[in-house]
């Protein structure tokens, strides 16, 4: 097989302790370029902590993270973002008073000129950049879900939950990331809504570029449909790895979810 898979993200012996609690316990794992990796595990098993460590919100106690061979272990959140890694949050973190456009445009922050003089006094040039950005956000909304494009200048607070989740995903996609971290996109939504949103994501992925996804999810049907490979965590440790069928039949996973008989 000539398709030797290229690793895009790798974690080695990653450990994260909060006082006496070990949220990640020497976790080693990798993600291949272009794949959709499922990250599973019971509540409190360290999935979100893993995202927070990668995105620079937490600093790992020990171990390291590399992205395309570059060490990101001690990188700040901004540095991680500039490496084209974006994420969504389990609980919606949109700025409700701001418009759909504002919330998505900030996701494109690394391509916006935030110079003081440019923004305050060179309004003509700013207008050009602004028009370009409106165009881009609009394009993304049209690709993602055309219904949202009409609401581009409406405050996010006026949108339904499912649309807010869409906006959050658009915010993560607008900068054309290489790695997208989705933290439980089904939280707070019905099964059908989640499927709808996932289809939107896959659709954008096929149209723009085949970015890599790590998906944290409890909804097993979603994992089965979306992922090529899964990793199961429990108490911060990797307890299983493989395709959906492999992990579902793994005895350790069954014990972790259902308890010892």
């Amino acid at each position: 097989m000539s398709q030797a898979k290229k690793q895009i993200l790798a974690a080695t012996n990653l450990t994260m302790r909060f006082g006496g609690v070990t949220a990640l316990d020497s976790l080693s794992m990798h993600v291949n370029e272009g794949e959709v990796l499922g990250l599973l595990g019971p509540n409190g098993s360290g999935k979100t902590t893993f995202f927070n460590v990668i995105t620079g919100l937490y600093r790992a106690t020990s171990g390291n993270v590399t992205f395309r061979g570059k060490d990101l272990t001690d990188a700040s959140a901004q540095e991680v973002y500039r490496e084209a890694i974006t994420r969504t949050f389990q609980r919606s973190r949109l700025s409700l008073p701001l418009t759909v456009f504002d919330n998505i445009a900030i996701g494109d922050n690394r391509r916006l000129n935030t110079g003081l003089l440019f923004n305050l006094f060179r309004r003509k040039e700013f207008k050009q950049e602004y028009d370009r950005e409106v165009d881009q956000v609009n394009q993304l909304l049209l690709t993602f879900n055309p219904k949202l494009a009409n609401k581009i200048f409406e405050p996010v607070a006026s949108l339904a939950m499912i649309d807010r989740r869409r906006i959050e995903i658009c915010r993560a996609l607008i900068s054309e990331p290489d790695l997208l971290l989705l933290d439980e996109p089904s939280a707070g939504m019905t099964h059908d809504e989640t499927v709808e949103v996932m289809d939107d994501i896959l659709q954008v992925r096929s149209k723009i570029k085949p970015f890599t996804i790590i998906l944290i999810e409890h909804e097993m049907s979603l994992i089965q449909r979306m992922t090529e490979r899964c990793i199961v965590l429990n108490y911060g440790k990797k307890i299983a790895e493989g395709t959906y069928d492999e992990i579902v039949n793994s005895p350790e996973v069954q014990v972790a979810y259902l308890g010892q008989e």
Binding site: T55, G56, L57, S76, A77, Q78, Y81, R82, T86, R87, F89, R93, L94, S95, L96, P97, L98, T99, D102, A105, I106, G107, N109, R110, L112, N113, T114, L116, N119, L120, F121, R123, F126, K127, Y130, D131, R132, V134, D135, N138, A149, N150, I152, F153, P155, R171
Partner: protein, 380 residues
């Protein structure tokens, strides 16, 4: 447009009457009138209609304000007290624009507004007394000194959030006043005199005569204040309608989401805090030169509270709200002198009533439009 112009004329007439009123009956009547009109206006949905009219002519409020100030100035051309109040309203508006950048955009409540205002005044006092620096440059230098001293606070403000950052600024405000009172070189509790503003060799505090009419020496200060107000207003406005305003809003609403999307939270807090103090210091220098005298008692914590209350009363984050709010806060207590000690009681009641009926302030912040009346690459 008709609605806008008639509102403008009525508003102008009202403020001229209020500024000129002297007897108790007049002031009392005017306050009650304002109350009745606002109740009627609420019933008729006047605010919404006005808002949509402004939407059509986004430049109207700016021209109306400048015209209003100029007309009022001409009407009261020889009445010192009315002009002093008008100039004070403008200067307070400038300070509050600075506080608005801190409070409204990036979310730092600065309870040391009066302290930074005072730093500006004292800097002006020292520079104007002891050096030959041109006075316009002093305005700039005072602004810089205020921002520079403010940078002492940057570290503690960055390390704390919300109420805790507010506490840091409260502590600074109190420290500043105590420092002034015990410091003899700065005049101690008696304060210092400031020489009047001198523009291009023209001493602004000398009375002027134009066409046989004697003009109050406050008028030149008023004009300088107006120019500075327009300047700081433009800066605040453009700031909001740019990626910087967007970044600052993100910092205020969700620091974690902001930093995940590459927004440098600390950077924008520093920019907003410094810019706000810069504007406050500049206004302070002008105020000091106008009143010719600075003393620690002008820059107490209570004064800082008044500044913050202007921002809240006007509608946090909306620079337009600040001007009417400053007018209410400055003029009302002065005009209510006839009820003696009770005036602050009545004033407090008015403020509470306003916030009861308009909890988001007089003119709540609207959704950001980067280029009003022109949506740019609008798909429709």
């Amino acid at each position: 447009m008709k609605l806008l112009i008639s509102t403008f004329i009525l508003g102008l007439l009202y403020s001229i009457l209020l500024l000129g009123s002297e007897s108790q009956a007049e002031v009392g009547g005017l306050v009650i009138l304002a109350f009745i009109v606002s109740l009627l206006g609420k019933k008729m949905g006047l605010m919404d209609r006005l808002a949509s009219a402004v939407q059509e002519f986004p430049k109207f409020p700016a021209y109306a304000t400048v015209a209003g100030v100029l007309i009022t100035m001409v009407v009261f051309h020889n009445s010192h007290f009315a002009l002093l109040m008008l100039a004070t309203v403008l200067i307070y508006s400038i300070v509050c624009l600075g506080l608005n950048i801190q409070f409204g955009y990036v979310g730092i409540v600065n309870f040391a507004g009066a302290a930074f205002f005072g730093i500006g005044s004292y800097t002006a006092a020292i520079l104007a007394t002891h050096t030959a620096v041109p006075h316009l440059v002093i305005l700039l230098l005072a602004a810089c000194v205020s921002a520079l001293i403010g940078s002492i606070l940057i570290y503690p403000v960055l390390r704390t959030r919300g109420h805790y950052a507010a506490l840091v600024t409260i502590a600074f405000g109190i420290l500043f006043r105590n420092f002034l009172e015990v410091n003899d070189t700065l005049g101690g509790p008696q304060g210092m005199k400031i020489p009047p503003l001198n523009l291009f060799g023209w001493n602004l505090s000398n009375g002027i005569e134009i066409l046989g009419h004697e003009i109050s020496f406050y008028i030149p200060y008023l004009l300088v204040a107006l120019i500075l107000l327009i300047l700081s207003f433009t800066i605040t406005r453009n700031l909001e309608r740019s990626w910087i305003g967007l970044s600052m809003d993100m910092v205020r609403t969700d620091e974690i989401a902001a930093s995940t999307y590459g927004v440098n939270v600390a950077h924008w807090k520093i920019v907003a805090f410094t810019l706000g103090n810069l504007i406050a210091g500049m206004a302070g220098a002008l105020y000091g030169m106008m009143t010719a005298y600075v003393a620690p008692n002008n820059f107490t914590f209570a004064d800082s509270l008044i500044l913050v209350s202007i921002v809240i009363l006007g509608g946090i984050g909306n620079p337009w709200g600040i001007i009417p709010a400053a007018a209410i806060v400055v003029i009302l207590p002065e005009k209510l002198q006839f009820i003696q000690e009770y005036r602050f009681l009545l004033y407090a009641i008015v403020v509470i009533l306003i916030l009861l009926f308009r909890p988001d302030g007089l003119l709540p912040r609207r959704i950001r439009e980067y280029f009003p009346g022109n949506k740019g690459g609008d798909p429709k």
